[in-house]
């Protein structure tokens, strides 16, 4: 085995995501703990039921040994990722590079609903797709945790485009993993297709070095974001 090769690569064509209304409502724009009254709640629940067959949550990851790191860089396989990610993942001995998607079906449902003039359903399908992409990332992270040794833990998940890494690092991420196996491609504008896709890194390492209960939002400057945790 070449030392640049991943330690493991796995793809999942059917990740399990379980929609829970309170989480979906947050993606629709409702603050935590706010529930719309009926009939709005019923309308949203109906869209959710219609959305489920449209979800195709898939994911892939490759785990690499950390070759080297500084505060501003992280060397994995034959690539070097630039950004504060070096500091954020400093406790990790291995790093999983991941890409997930909720599939294109949910965006098609949204587009159809907008086209038919049903803006509420259009918005709700879109929000469900966003939720499903995040949920797929959580489900894949769960799979990654099966690669942890005794007394090891996972870091938080970090994505290009947030403060740890510039969006340009999308290319590096795509070079280190196999998004093609789950039908995700990267456009020249660095946008992933299908739209409801997420890429990122999660570190594996000794629990005392990685397992801090931070929220990724603690590192983000978008103070007004309605998704702030």
């Amino acid at each position: 085995m070449n030392s640049d090769d991943p330690l493991a690569t796995e793809s999942f064509q059917q990740l399990v995501v379980e929609p829970r209304l309170p989480e979906v409502l947050r993606f629709l724009g409702y603050p935590k703990g706010v529930f719309p009254p009926d009939p709005m709640k019923q309308s949203i629940e109906q869209v959710l039921t219609r959305a489920l067959p449209g979800l195709e949550p898939r994911g892939t990851f490759s785990i690499y040994a950390v070759r080297a790191h500084t505060r501003r860089s992280l060397a994995l396989g034959s690539e070097t990722i630039a950004g504060n990610i070096g500091e954020f993942l400093h406790g990790a001995s291995r790093v999983a590079v991941l890409v997930v998607t909720a599939g294109r079906g949910i965006t098609e449902l949204s587009t159809e609903a907008w086209g038919a003039g049903d803006s509420l359903a259009g918005w709700a399908f879109d929000a469900i797709g966003s939720w499903a992409a995040e949920a797929a990332a959580d489900a894949l992270t769960q799979q990654i945790s099966s690669h942890l040794g005794a007394d090891e833990g996972l870091t938080l998940r970090y994505s290009p485009g947030y403060c740890g890494m510039d969006l340009s690092q999308q290319r590096t991420i795509f070079g280190l993993t196999r998004p093609g196996s789950i039908g995700v491609s990267l456009l020249p504008s660095l946008l992933m297709q299908p739209m409801k896709s997420v890429s990122g890194l999660v570190g594996l390492g000794p629990r005392e070095l990685v397992g801090v209960n931070l929220s990724p939002c603690d590192r983000c400057l978008q103070i007004g974001c309605h998704m702030r945790r």
Binding site: L28, G29, M40, S43, I44, W114, S119, P188, S189, L191
Partner: protein
């Protein structure tokens, strides 16, 4: 003056069928279509906007109210046209070239229509040439550009530059928006305005057409 409270209640509740029924009834009782807009649905939509700003309404409520208003407009637009009244304004809207994110633009379109604007939605990944052709063809007063990522922001500048080269920049107001857009970016590229969300996009569009 006619009492438009039933119509307004229906708009606030986002009940399209009730709003259209109330509008029909008002018209059959002799209400003037322009009055119905100015004193019926406009104040109701202003209240919807206020409730959104105040955190009592959220995007879904905004959308169903805007839809109710849009359906009333479908009913009264021919009557308004007969009286010679124009739509509030005509907006060409699209997501810039290279970007495929359409939900932000869709929300803006829905609320603009609820505000009485005529919207020509060009979709996603729209080239500067397509924006220019649509503005010229439809005689739009406003063009709205949307983007999701910092990597597609430069396409906003390219689009504006293309309007300048085509000699059309003075004929149209340009408003921009999307998650990575800021007022200072709008100033830097010389846009006429930036809207943080769909509700403020409507206020901005009204200001740009001077109503």
């Amino acid at each position: 003056m006619h009492d438009f409270s039933k119509l307004q209640e229906a708009v606030l509740a986002g009940n399209s069928a009730a709003a259209v029924a109330a509008a029909r009834q008002a018209l059959s009782e002799g209400a003037d279509p322009l009055d119905l807009v100015l004193h019926g649905i406009s104040p109701a939509m202003a209240e919807v906007g206020r409730l959104f700003e105040a955190g009592d309404y959220f995007v879904p409520e905004l959308l169903i109210s805007a839809r109710a208003t849009k359906e009333v407009f479908v009913l009264i637009r021919p009557l308004l046209a007969k009286q010679g009244a124009q739509p509030t304004g005509r907006v060409v809207l699209g997501t810039v070239q290279g970007d495929l994110h359409d939900i932000g633009k869709n929300l803006v379109a829905a609320l603009l229509e609820g505000g009485g604007f005529e919207v020509i939605d060009l979709g996603v990944s729209v080239s500067p040439e397509k924006f220019i052709a649509a503005v010229a063809d439809k005689k739009a007063q406003i063009v709205g550009l949307s983007a999701l990522l910092t990597t597609t922001l430069p396409a906003m500048k390219t689009t504006l530059d293309a309007f300048r080269s085509a000699g059309l920049r003075d004929r149209v107001k340009v408003m921009i928006g999307g998650a990575p857009v800021t007022q200072s970016f709008a100033d830097t590229i010389g846009a006429d305005g930036y809207g943080e969300n769909a509700a403020s996009a409507v206020q901005l569009a009204r200001r740009l057409v001077g109503v």
